[in-house]
Every structure is written in structure tokens, then in C-alpha cells.
């Protein structure tokens, strides 16, 4: 009765870690080769493009610094996403949560009137809370009403984007900025120190590294982490064990949204030192972080490595943009290809695909 198909897909048991790592590296390599073929076909020397990327993003002190500073928001957002993804909450909204963090930081920096020593801590706390709040809305909607998390988190990104636009064009537009759509510059006590001659705002970097370790401990060593994994892997079993899916969903989104919010504080206080257009604040960190977390196989510690990898792509993309005259969108080409090859590799790893031309 069943028609024969060209190939069959069967599920395979879980694979050892080193195979996963090897296959992931091969997938990225394949994606880079595909991008290279595309460049070549388009009349750009692929060898030269990759030489420029490696030299620009890794070969000099400044390039390396740019790579690291790009990796900071990816690290914070990515760690948060691994936790949400563990509970099978599809948080596509890190972009919006990051923007809310930046908004909160700007609000505290410009309007709170707090004493200097308290400014930065207050900005980080406010940024975490704002990002968490933005993440909590879709969490409550999913946990209480069963509303699709992908769609709500996605829509919240755009609401956040227009909120920032409104603030910088309207009530928060800086009187000293000569009509540009920026807020005023933050007072110097509200800006983050950077490693000299670079844009690495090291307090946020340290925070990101600490958070990655803490998140790993949370997931692997604590009861809360165990509950998150059970809710994600087997909701049925979670219900029998008396684990509240509601509480777990809220908990993971407070962390996931909050960490993205911290990334926003870092960008606002460490790089721009004011609030400006949403695409300048973020440049898609929240979306790229989805690939970062996916590639890390939802392991918070592995995010340290994958966020650096995408830091290389972002700063390398900057370099070839300038020297080869390519548009900024070239980064999306890399991201899209890598993501597709990862999906493909995932299937190769977890499924045995057997080709059959025989009629059964």
C-alpha cells in the first residue's frame, strides 16, 4: 500500500559529545565553502574574502578586540536562550528584550538622579528587570492561555523597536543633540570602562562569562535545572512529578529576557553611551544569538565558544564590507547558510538516512 520513497529517515539514539562537535564543525565548514562558492561565482575571490576576514577579525589586536566586543551581547543573549530552549520555550524575542534593557539603562542614566556610585548597578538591575518583563509577557500568555511563543516573542520585538523609535524621536530626544534622533549622552558615571584602545566593555564581558558558568551549574546541578529539563523533554512526566510548567516557564523567561536585557545595558552604556536608533543599538544580536544557542546545543558553557565564532563573523563581515564594498547584509548570508547546514547536520546525526531505489 505504501509507495516506495527515495530515502527513509529513521531516528538514531543520542550520540557521544565529540561526534556532535565534529559534525558541527564540518557543518560550519560546509556553510563557509558554500558562501565561498557563491562569492566566486559572483566575481569576488573567495580566498581573498576569507583572508580578509581572518586577518581583520583575528589577525590584529584591534580586529580581535572588535570580535570580542561583538561576542559580548551574543554571549549574554545566547546563554539566556539556551535556558529558554531547554524548557522548549521558543524565545525569538531576545532582540526586543535587549532593546528594553537599553531603554531601562538610558532611563536610569539620564533621569534617575541617583548618586554616581549607584548609577551603573542600578542600570544593570533595571535592564535585567525590563528585559525580564518583556520576556514575561509571552511567557504568561503561553503558560496560561497556550498562545504560541514564537509568534508573541517575535511581535514583541517589533513593539520594542517602535518603542525605542518613539522615545528617541519624542519624549527622550536629547536637547543637546542638535535635532538628531538620539537621547543626550550618558553622564560619565553611567558609562562602562573599556580596555584601553578597544571597545571591549570588560565589566559586561566578565558578567557574561560568569553568567555562562552559573547557567551551566543551574542546568546541570540544581533541582530547578532538573525541572527545566523535564518540562522541556517530557511535559507529561513533569506533570506526574508535580513540576509546575507555569512556574518553570516564567522562571526561564525571567532569566532569558533578563540576560538579553543585560546585553542591552552593555551596548547602551559600553558602546553607544546613549540611546539611539534600534538597528544601531542591536544590529540583530538577538536573532544571531538564536544560532549561537542552537549551535552550542543548548549548553551554556559552549555558548562562550559559539558567541566568539559569530563575533568573528560579525567583525569579519565588517571588514569585507569595507574592503570589498559588500553590503552589511553579507553577515545574514553567512548566518542563513550556517543555520541551514546545521539543520542538515542535525538530521544526519540524529537520523539514519538510507537510500533505497528498490520497490519493497
Amino acid at each position: 500500500m505504501k509507495k516506495p520513497s527515495l530515502f527513509r529517515v529513521e531516528r538514531r539514539p543520542t550520540l557521544p559529545g565529540h561526534v556532535v562537535v565534529l559534525v558541527s564543525i564540518l557543518a560550519i565548514f560546509a556553510a563557509l565553502v558554500a558562501a565561498g562558492i557563491f562569492f566566486q561565482a559572483y566575481g569576488i575571490s573567495a580566498v581573498r574574502a576569507y583572508q580578509l576576514i581572518v586577518k581583520g577579525a583575528l589577525g590584529s589586536r584591534l580586529g580581535l578586540a572588535e570580535t570580542v566586543r561583538r561576542a559580548i551581547p551574543l554571549l549574554l543573549c545566547g546563554v539566556g536562550l539556551t535556558i529558554a530552549f531547554r524548557a522548549l520555550f521558543w524565545n525569538i524575542g531576545a532582540e526586543g528584550q535587549l532593546l528594553l534593557g537599553a531603554v531601562a539603562a538610558a532611563g536610569v542614566a539620564l533621569f534617575s538622579g541617583l548618586p554616581d556610585v549607584l548609577l551603573l548597578p542600578a542600570m544593570f538591575i533595571a535592564g535585567f528587570l525590563a528585559g525580564a518583563l518583556w520576556g514575561l509577557i509571552p511567557a504568561v500568555l503561553k503558560a496560561r492561555l497556550g498562545i504560541n511563543d514564537v509568534i508573541t516573542t517575535l511581535m514583541m520585538n517589533y513593539i520594542a523597536l517602535y518603542l525605542v523609535e518613539w522615545l528617541i524621536h519624542g519624549p527622550w530626544r536629547g536637547p543637546t543633540m542638535r535635532g538628531f534622533a538620539y537621547t543626550d549622552k550618558f553622564p560619565s558615571a553611567a558609562t562602562l570602562p573599556t580596555i584601553s584602545w578597544t571597545r571591549i566593555h570588560w565589566p559586561t564581558l566578565l558578567l557574561g562569562l560568569a553568567v555562562a558558568v552559573l547557567a551551566y551549574v543551574l542546568i546541570t546541578r540544581t533541582r530547578a535545572g532538573f525541572e527545566i529539563r523535564v518540562v522541556g523533554e517530557n511535559p507529561e512526566a513533569a506533570r506526574f512529578a508535580g513540576i509546575s510548567a507555569f512556574k518553570t516557564t516564567l522562571f526561564v523567561m525571567i532569566i532569558s529576557g533578563g540576560l538579553a536585557g543585560l546585553a542591552g545595558v552593555g551596548e547602551a552604556a559600553g558602546i553607544h553611551r546613549m540611546l539611539l536608533g534600534p538597528t544601531s543599538i542591536s544590529m540583530g544580536y538577538g536573532y544571531t544569538a538564536i544560532i549561537v544557542a542552537w549551535l552550542a546545543r543548548r549548553n551554556p558553557l559552549a555558548v562562550i565558544v559559539t558567541s566568539l565564532l559569530f563575533g568573528v563573523i560579525m567583525s569579519g563581515g565588517d571588514v569585507i564590507r569595507v574592503s570589498l564594498g559588500l553590503p552589511f547584509q553579507v553577515i545574514n548570508l553567512f548566518n542563513g547558510l550556517i543555520l541551514f547546514f546545521l539543520i542538515g547536520s542535525e538530521l544526519l546525526m540524529h537520523y539514519k538516512i538510507s537510500f533505497s531505489f528498490r520497490r519493497r
Binding site: 505504501k2 527513509r8 529517515v9 557563491f38 559572483y42 521558543w90 525569538i92 500568555l141 492561555l145 497556550g146 498562545i147 504560541n148 514564537v150 509568534i151 508573541t152 517575535l154 511581535m155 514583541m156 517589533y158 513593539i159 517602535y162 518603542l163 523609535e165 518613539w166 524621536h169 519624542g170 536573532y287 538564536i290 542552537w294 564594498g325 559588500l326 553590503p327 552589511f328 547584509q329 553579507v330 553577515i331 545574514n332 548570508l333 553567512f334 548566518n335 542563513g336 547558510l337 543555520l339 541551514f340 539543520i343 542538515g344 542535525e346 538530521l347
Partner: protein, 309 residues
């Protein structure tokens, strides 16, 4: 400007801007009705826009351009179809990568095409006779192009197919209960492939409309997030082509008014409305009988495989 002129111009521009929204939404409605969520609309649209513009520019024929745009959109959607239907990959991830890929590919390919004006674009027509009707004439029958009328015709056809024909029953069955559809001898994967391709073709067409008719030029990232409005609209429309038409014009009016009401209402508020509406609709239909009657297709984002396998 008198208020009548103001009103007529606003509605006429709404119709023009609503057309690409409507086309892509009709496609996404079919895709999602069959159980496939394609978040790659933005990517398919921008690929359609680029393909249509470069073809129209080289051949001098905007119509050929827009057809190539539709074809490229359809071809591009095959990537998502293959990943999510055949390989049963996560539809969210696959759709997002399609958007990234489309933006990246069109950005690199379109380098050097920017700032070139298109010599011949799709002409605006004036319907003889009808355009003389007071008020309605200049609003609907003047300064529009054939694609705008085609999209309205498409609403009727696609609504009829979805609710009144066997094909439509098959599409809805596959999205609601693929196992039951399968037992009735409907090929689940075939229907899903076709619906995903329909979504791609219409998204490509919408992109082509933007680059050879609405504003005949190519700019990198010119779809400017329209693909995400389409995702919101599909929900707002309760996955129904007729409501999709109302929604497309409503959202287009909001977009247009965000410029025209600038002195009084903040444009950002109006531009954020479509996204807020989508969330509100999801809340409204999340409970009770409404959920069954108007909610999302039950098997949306779930790949199908026969359990005996």
C-alpha cells in the same frame, strides 16, 4: 487640500500599499493552513523584489520581471519545504534561516543595482467609465495597476478554493488532522509542498510588486520588515483570505496614516499596531469555541510521519 481629496488620496494609497501585504498574506494563509509555518516571508519577498527588478531592468519588461520574481519566490520556498517537510526539521529555525539567507543573498547580488531607476515600470491604469464615478472613481479606479485588481480577484478565488472545493478540504484537513487526511488517501506531504510553494510564489510576487510597480527601484533590504507584518496579518485574518483582505488594507491604512497624521499621532504608535493586534487576536481566540472555529490550524509546525513507520 480639502478633506475629500485628503480622504481619496489616503484610501487610494492604502489600496496601493495594501496589495503586496495582501498577496503575501494570501500565500502564507495557504502555507499555514496546510500545517507549515514559514517565517521566511521576508526573505522570499526580498528575493522576489531583487529578481523582478534585475529582470525588468535587463529585459525592459516589467511584466516578465514580476513573473520571474514570483518564480524565484516559489523556488526559494522549496528550501523551507524540503527542510521542514521532508527532513522534518524545526520550522521556526528553518524559516528564520530562509529570511536571513534571502536578505543576505539579495544584499550581495543587488550590489551595484542600487540607485538605478527602472526605465519602464508597471503602468498605472485608469478604468474608463468607472473612474468617473464620484468619490469611488478616483479612489479605486485611477492610478492603480492591474496587480492590485488581480490580488482582489485572487482573494475571491483562494477563498472559494479553500472553503468550497475538495482541494480546499484537503488543505484544511492536512493542517488540522494530517493522520485523518492520510487515511483518506490525501498525500500530506504533497499538499504541504504545494501550499508552501504557493506561499513562496505569492511572496515573490509581492516583492516584485514593490520593486517594479510600487516604487520602481532596488534598495538593499527594501521590504523593510513587511514580511513580519504578513506573519502578523495571517493571524489577524484568522487564516481566512477574506478577512486577510480587510486586514491588509487596515494595516496599509495604519502605515500610510503614520505619515499623514504625524503632527497629531506619533507614527511609531501606528506602526506598532499591527504587531499588537496580532497578539490581541491570539489572546481573544485562545479560549473556548472560538479557538476551534477561528484558531490556528491544529497541526501547525508539526511535521507528519506515519506512526506505523
Amino acid at each position: 487640500m480639502g478633506w475629500e481629496t485628503w480622504f481619496i488620496v489616503t484610501l487610494s494609497r492604502t489600496l496601493a500599499y495594501g496589495t503586496p501585504l495582501l498577496l503575501a498574506t494570501l500565500g502564507e494563509i495557504y502555507t499555514e493552513r496546510s500545517g507549515v509555518l514559514n517565517l521566511g516571508v521576508e526573505g522570499m519577498m526580498i528575493m522576489g523584489a531583487y529578481a523582478a527588478f534585475s529582470t525588468a531592468y535587463t529585459t525592459g519588461s516589467p511584466w516578465l520581471g514580476i513573473m520571474v520574481g514570483a518564480l524565484v519566490g516559489g523556488a526559494f520556498s522549496l528550501i523551507h519545504a524540503f527542510a521542514s517537510i521532508t527532513l522534518k526539521a524545526n520550522q521556526v529555525v528553518s524559516g528564520l534561516s530562509l529570511t536571513m539567507l534571502g536578505l543576505g543573498l539579495s544584499g550581495v547580488l543587488g550590489r551595484g543595482w542600487e540607485g538605478r531607476p527602472l526605465p519602464v515600470s508597471i503602468p498605472e491604469i485608469t478604468v474608463p467609465g468607472l473612474s468617473k464615478i464620484p468619490f469611488l472613481g478616483p479612489m479605486l479606479f485611477e492610478g492603480q495597476n492591474l496587480i492590485a485588481y488581480f490580488s482582489i480577484l485572487l482573494v475571491v478565488v483562494m477563498w472559494y478554493i479553500l472553503y468550497r472545493t475538495r482541494i480546499g478540504i484537503a488543505v484544511r484537513a492536512v493542517g488540522e488532522n494530517p493522520a485523518a487526511a492520510d487515511s483518506l488517501g490525501i498525500s500530506v506531504n504533497k499538499v504541504r509542498y504545494l501550499c508552501t510553494i504557493v506561499g513562496g510564489i505569492l511572496a515573490g510576487l509581492a516583492g516584485g510588486y514593490l520593486s517594479v510597480a510600487y516604487r520602481p527601484a532596488w534598495t538593499e533590504g527594501m521590504t523593510g520588515g513587511m514580511g513580519w507584518i504578513v506573519i502578523a496579518l495571517t493571524i489577524f485574518a484568522f487564516w481566512n483570505p477574506a478577512i486577510g483582505m480587510l486586514g491588509a488594507y487596515l494595516f496599509a491604512a495604519l502605515y500610510h496614516l503614520s505619515f499623514r497624521l504625524q503632527p497629531w499621532v506619533s507614527p511609531e504608535l501606528l506602526k506598532a499596531m499591527p504587531y499588537a493586534f496580532a497578539i490581541l487576536v491570539l489572546i481573544a481566540i485562545s479560549r473556548g469555541t472560538l479557538q476551534k472555529k477561528m484558531g490556528a490550524p491544529a497541526a501547525l509546525t508539526l511535521p507528519y510521519s506515519r506512526s506505523e513507520e
